[in-house]
């Protein structure tokens, strides 16, 4: 009986397969390290771009703008040179011409003029022309001067434009760097997003989902049921919890088995496997209550093995036990599923037949006696020992259990007195006076 009630086997702790496991702290440290590495790399990448922009701005501020302003000053000096030349050629008196020529020579010799080969060459040509014109009597060659004058203006324009072009080129480079920075920033945001998505995936896959499974298992954890299969998590700590749950479940199962065993010992007769007196009375009370609640018929009975004391005395208690077991097996094989039987004490057994009228119970008792007669007990010497029993039955419908059992006991007494191996039904009105014999 114990073997039959064994609980379902628990799954193995390694049912999910053996996998490598990582401590959560290590995993978090690795993830944190990777994130830190990515963050540092991104910051470094942006820092490089920022430095490019800063360098471009610095170059614009410290080099290009001053260079451009110097170009404009040089252009202005070219214009001053042209105007000075005009004064040299048109001066009405020598001092004025001399002053103008002096400025021309200063400009032509100025270090700034010599920085650009175009200005140095043109300034030298202009100076030479003007010095020669100033030293020459007569009208100057204004046509030649017009050519020089036009060249000076054009070169001044070129210098002014070059400054603007260089600023424009620097701004273009800076804009390009800023644009690159914008793309890289976008890339950085994407990378951070991918990392966060990966992080959340890992968190969900290896931490949250195992925890949810553990929660579901714990909510439904029952020692009478097999343990739901756990995933065998890759996280060492989660796996430790899973193993603890398995051990806990195994303990629950052991406790449940012990409880069932104790319950059987407390409610079952150890020799026959039938419910003992106390358990039977509990079962009978339930059936009586049910019959009373629904107004259904119910019958009780008490059986006693005939001459059992002589069997014990003559053949020993081992044969007596065999007889008791044989009676129990015949009863279990013969009774209906809804009928209840219990060992009431010694060789006495009690019955309760729900949904059964007294006459039907009487027939059932007869069938039991018949089956019992057909099932003799084989003695050690090979002979067969016939076993008989006497039955007392009573209609329990609408009565209390104790009262009905007392009536059945009286009917049993009657059956014994009447010669044994028979069934006697105590009708309610005639329970004391004339029990029905079968």
């Amino acid at each position: 009986m114990i073997q039959d009630e064994r609980l379902p086997a628990a799954p193995s702790a390694e049912a999910g397969g053996t996998v490598g496991r990582w401590p959560a702290g290590t995993v978090l440290a690795v993830l944190g390290g990777v994130f830190a590495l990515i963050a540092v790399s991104l910051v470094a990448l942006l820092a490089v771009d920022q430095r490019l922009v800063t360098e471009a701005a610095t170059r614009l501020h410290d080099e290009t703008v001053p260079w451009t302003l110097e170009r404009q000053r040089l252009a202005r000096n070219l214009e001053e040179l042209r105007m000075g030349g005009q004064r040299v050629l048109t001066a009405s008196d020598p001092p004025t011409r001399s002053d103008a020529l002096f400025v021309v020579r200063i400009l032509a010799a100025h270090p700034g003029m010599g920085e650009d080969p175009r200005t140095a060459e043109l300034a030298a040509e202009v100076e030479g022309f003007l010095v020669k014109s100033a030293a020459t009597e007569g009208a100057p060659d204004m046509k030649a001067w017009d050519v020089y004058s036009r060249r000076l203006r054009l070169l001044a324009d070129d210098l002014s434009v070059e400054g603007g072009q260089r600023v424009s080129a620097e701004l273009d480079r800076m804009s390009e760097a800023v644009e690159q920075t914008r793309y890289k920033l976008l890339l950085n945001v994407l990378l951070v997003g991918v990392f966060l998505a990966s992080f959340l995936f890992i968190l969900r896959r290896y931490l949250i989902q195992p925890l949810q499974r553990i929660h579901a298992v714990l909510v439904s954890l029952d020692g009478r049921e097999p343990l739901p299969l756990l995933s065998s998590s890759s996280m060492a700590e989660i796996h430790a919890v899973e193993e603890a749950i398995m051990r806990f479940h195994a303990t629950l199962r052991e406790n449940e088995e012990v409880r069932l065993k104790l319950e059987r010992l407390a409610t079952t007769d150890g020799l026959t496997g039938l419910p003992n007196r106390r358990h039977f009375l509990g079962l009978a009370s339930d059936e009586m209550a049910r019959a009373r609640r629904y107004g259904r018929p119910i019958t009780v009975g008490i059986a006693d093995l005939d001459h059992f004391k002589q069997v014990n005395d003559r053949f020993g208690h081992g044969v007596g036990d065999q007889v008791l077991q044989r009676f129990a097996s015949v009863v279990l094989e013969t009774l209906r599923e809804t009928d209840r039987v219990g060992r009431f004490g010694g060789e006495e057994f009690a019955f309760i037949f729900p949904e059964t009228l007294p006459d039907e119970a009487l027939q059932l008792a007869g069938r039991l006696r018949q089956r019992l007669g057909e099932s003799p007990v084989a003695l050690p010497d090979g002979t067969l020992l016939a076993v008989t029993a006497s039955f007392g039955l009573a209609d329990a419908t609408g009565q209390r259990l104790e009262e009905s059992l007392a009536q059945a006991d009286a009917a049993l007494y009657e059956a014994k007195g009447g010669g044994r191996d028979r069934s006697v039904l105590a009708t309610r009105a005639e329970a004391e006076a004339s029990p029905q014999r079968v």
Partner: protein
């Protein structure tokens, strides 16, 4: 640029207690009687290219400056001894000067001009020079005959009065001399000298114990050259752009 700006900011912090908390005014050496760079105008006010540049620089540095006229031959000594915080005097950055004072970044370049009668080569006549200038040092080093005077105005006067036959002057002062009507009748010819000892970068000199002031001045020079003040002042005093 960032580090330089940081240094300038730190320098400003270091200078701030000197100029605000203690209400100290920077003493600035300037020349007088040296048109168009530094002179007293008809109203008695000190003005000129260097004086106005000095005012612009002090405005950019947000400090109060007090110009103090001094002769050219005392400029380097006075600045080196700390009598002045800096000198708004155009000095060629010679190694000798760099060894005694801090020199700012160049704010323009110059050359020297020899004035003499036509046909007289440089060194061929008694020349007037300003004491303390590179021109005086150059003449002395080359053994030319010369008369050392205190100011550029005195050189012009000496020429006009016939006390000297020639003059060796820096470029900008030479422009003023050329336009001085007192010497027009002399019919002087000019020779431009670009010897490295007479031409090159022109700087401001700074108290050697005030490197923070040097940083501020350099930054201020950049700013006045960028914001147009340099060119506007240039246009007021010089008939061409200083570069």
């Amino acid at each position: 640029m960032i580090s330089r700006h940081l240094f300038v900011a730190l320098a400003s912090l270091m200078l701030a207690p000197l100029t605000h908390a203690a209400e100290r005014v920077l003493r600035v050496a300037v020349l007088n009687h040296s048109p168009p760079m530094s002179y007293t105008d008809e109203t008695g006010a000190l003005t000129g290219f260097n004086v106005e540049i000095m005012r612009a620089l002090c405005d950019v540095m947000a400090v109060r400056c007090m110009p103090v006229p001094v002769s050219l031959d005392r400029v380097v000594d006075a600045v080196a001894e700390g009598e002045f915080d800096f000198a708004a005097v155009s000095l060629l950055a010679t190694p000798e000067r760099r060894a005694r004072v801090l020199m700012s970044k160049p704010y323009y370049r110059s050359l020297s001009v020899w004035f003499a009668r036509p046909g007289v080569v440089p060194g061929g006549a008694l020349a007037g020079v300003v004491r303390g200038g590179v021109q005086a040092r150059y003449i002395q080093a080359n053994g030319w005959r010369s008369v050392a005077l205190d100011t550029h105005a005195e050189v012009v006067t000496a020429l006009a009065q016939g006390k000297v036959e020639a003059a060796l002057l820096p470029m900008s002062t030479a422009v003023a001399l050329q336009q001085d009507v007192r010497i027009h009748h002399l019919g002087l010819a000019t020779t431009l000298l670009r010897d490295p000892q007479l031409a090159g970068d022109v700087c401001l000199s700074v108290n050697p114990r005030s490197p923070e002031l040097l940083a501020l001045l350099n930054d201020a020079i950049d700013r006045v050259k960028r914001d147009g003040r340099f060119d506007r002042i240039n246009s007021r005093f010089i008939p061409f752009r200083l570069q």
